[in-house]
Symmetry: C2
Subunit: 417 residues, 2 copies
């Protein structure tokens, strides 16, 4: 699936520009129930993740949902540790994103078969079953199964109250639609005014262009939102470590709440140095953190003050569960990455589950919100006053409308012909 | 290209089993000169790296070698930082391996056009030109261009003597052909005896199966090679951090020189903990280190005592140059990973360049040697008494024989029909 977003400058930042795309996986049961999952890509190259899904498909085609969830880690490893395909990662990049697309579809299918939104399926799941869905391989030095069980047991207390609260108020979020690098200053100002009027009190801008431009745009946004609203900054990995520290010294006057992706996403030690230098500004990262082992180290090194899980970068729901549990263990709030194609639809479930059963606090928790492409989903996100409303339909909100699939399939859809 | 290696148990270890394959890139000039490059894969999934090469091909097709090398970092970033494709990494996994295949082919072509083996082209290159081929983005906190230039200038001293030494004696190596997990004990013993008789005094065994089996096999090999020869162990990432420390306490009685890939390849902090615990045994890793930023951190964290660069995992010769220079800055010896398809052919050039111009010492330096598939290359490695003989033909020794290409192309070659 590919959507023509590049021309509008939507989604442009220091290093990414493209037509937002998704590798869309549909799993159909003999009874005709369909589970949907996907991974997000940035345009060209979506055919590569599609090829990776095809290479992994034999691990899921022909199996039953019951069979898969009887031994969920064995299933997950059949994808993530395939003896031939793992060489292409391991557990990173194209092959791992394809794993995520398939695993997400399996969870969507299960939630639909159980008639519950994914967040509810997870929040109500017995502790031992949740633990049995986590692959602790390579993270036992940070989180053991017993520690995970203790966190999940504790999360049962007060769960109904938290659920009632979310059903009433929704989940806090912030908007990234105001400050893409591709937008001119007047558009940034107008979008900031509009977002503030709509109720947003937390907004994110892109930085990582010429620093004087970043400073000028930060001033515009801070002028419009006043001193109390949160302003986040996102450098999309463009800076070197010392450059990040120097540039944040200049941008600090606009009181950023966090600096996101200040340097190379693999650079755990670099993030730790930056975090020590820019505190109390928080370092945030995660949208391209390749797997749970990267997150483990970011937590162990005290390199981040905000952990930005992604629904489609890692190996799907199972791996995200391990990340959410590690964040709780280390006391770092989760603010999921969203945007792209359908990422808002997915991560709302993960954030809600985190609050209901794991993190159990809304302090510092926000889900990213980007107002792109929701119209293509059968169960799109709904927001009110800067908050996500709780999804109510069964599944993982991953299903695209048949008309959108027909129109935007690439390259054969009418939109691309 | 795919070769039927799985049935023989060749290449089997704790986590990998497959038919050794390569995504083979051929760049032809209008004058008919051909540059060859490739990345190695483990069988299934080779079609995914092929798709990635096709997605990147437009960055190189139609350009001249002179044009590319006039601005080599700009060329390298056109591949590694493609605004749409980088999302699939960034700089890791399938998309980065495909970048490496193309970049390697460009260097093979250049070396052929200049009529020199790649090691010689690099060793004789002026310092500023070498520096201009390195992308220092995201590594300036570990190595600056000025520091790199100083290392390369110093490497000019005594270069002719070192070259004469290698032409006379060859380059030290070790063999991995004795202890694959797929081999029974008697085969391990027989292969060890044979390798020792052939002159090998450094051998590597696979570990990471049941620890009692690892202990038994280590005992067999140590019995056969005596106390003076080097025994290396390779766990192929299978252990958790504490498990690696515990298992190495048991294997220490066989006096291993290094433990390779003791845990997840992305776990810089884990490797650092293991290195502190198992010293003086050295921790070695690198064959799946995704990029220069992972190596940078392994060096900064003092997590490794041996750095195992790979010719095809990262973005080709340009990125390997940065890794070789960082290793010299931090004083860690390089012992390149080889085996697979054609990796021995490539890394010999890198190791020789390192000795001649960067590291300038043979202390602790060895190139891995695996006796597989050399017969398919037009300029195969040659060894004598456990040492690589210096390549003499122009290029990067990456060209496969036309008959092999015809026979083993997958899936259409006669070997696979």
């Amino acid at each position: 699936m590919r959507f023509p977003t590049a021309d509008a400058g939507d989604g442009s930042d220091a290093i990414n520009r493209g037509d937002y795309s998704a590798t869309y996986v549909s799993l159909k049961t003999d009874a005709g129930v369909e589970g949907a999952g996907f991974t997000f890509t940035n345009g060209r190259g979506n055919e590569i993740t599609c090829a990776a899904v095809r290479a992994l498909a034999h691990h899921v085609v022909g199996r039953s949902v019951d069979d898969i969830f009887a031994e969920p880690v064995a299933f997950w490893r059949s994808l993530s540790a395939d003896v031939q395909l793992r060489w292409l990662g391991p557990e990173k990049g194209v092959i791992h994103m394809a794993t995520g697309a398939i695993v997400n579809a399996v969870w969507d299918l299960r939630a639909k078969l159980e008639g519950k939104p994914l967040w509810q399926l997870l929040a109500e799941m017995p502790t031992q079953e949740l633990v049995s869905n986590v692959d602790f391989h390579h993270i036992t030095d940070a989180l053991t199964p017993d520690e995970a069980a203790a966190i999940l047991d504790k999360g049962l207390s007060g769960l109904d109250d938290r659920r009632a609260e979310l059903e009433r108020d929704g989940f806090p979020s912030y908007t990234t639609s105001v400050g893409w690098l591709g937008y001119p200053d007047d558009k940034v100002r107008a979008l900031t005014q509009q977002a503030y009027a709509e109720g947003w009190r937390a907004m994110k801008m892109k930085v990582g262009g010429p620093i004087d431009d970043d400073v000028r745009r930060a001033r515009i946004i801070r002028e419009e939102i006043g001193p109390d609203a949160l302003l986040m900054m996102d450098a999309n990995q463009v800076w070197d470590v010392d450059e990040a520290i120097a540039n944040m010294a200049r941008l600090a006057e606009f009181d950023p709440y966090w600096i996101e992706e200040p340097t190379h996403a693999d650079d755990v030690l670099g993030h730790a140095r930056i975090q020590r230098a820019v505190a109390p500004i928080r370092v945030a990262t995660g949208e391209v953190a390749a797997n749970r082992v990267i997150f483990k180290q970011l937590l162990q090194a005290e390199a981040i003050g905000v952990m930005q899980i992604d629904a489609c970068r890692v190996g799907g729901v199972n791996e995200v569960l391990s990340e959410i549990l590690m964040a709780a263990k280390f006391g770092v709030p989760i603010c999921p990455h969203a945007g792209g194609v359908g990422l808002c639809e997915l991560v709302q479930h993960l954030a809600v589950f985190d609050y209901l059963r794991v993190g159990t606090s809304l302090e510092g928790r926000m889900v990213e919100y980007v107002d792109h492409l929701h119209e293509h989903f059968t169960d799109p996100v709904r927001t009110r006053g800067g908050r996500y409303l709780l999804p109510t339909e069964p599944g993982y909100s991953a299903t695209m409308k048949p008309a959108s699939i027909a129109e935007y399939s690439f390259p054969e859809g009418p939109a691309w012909r």
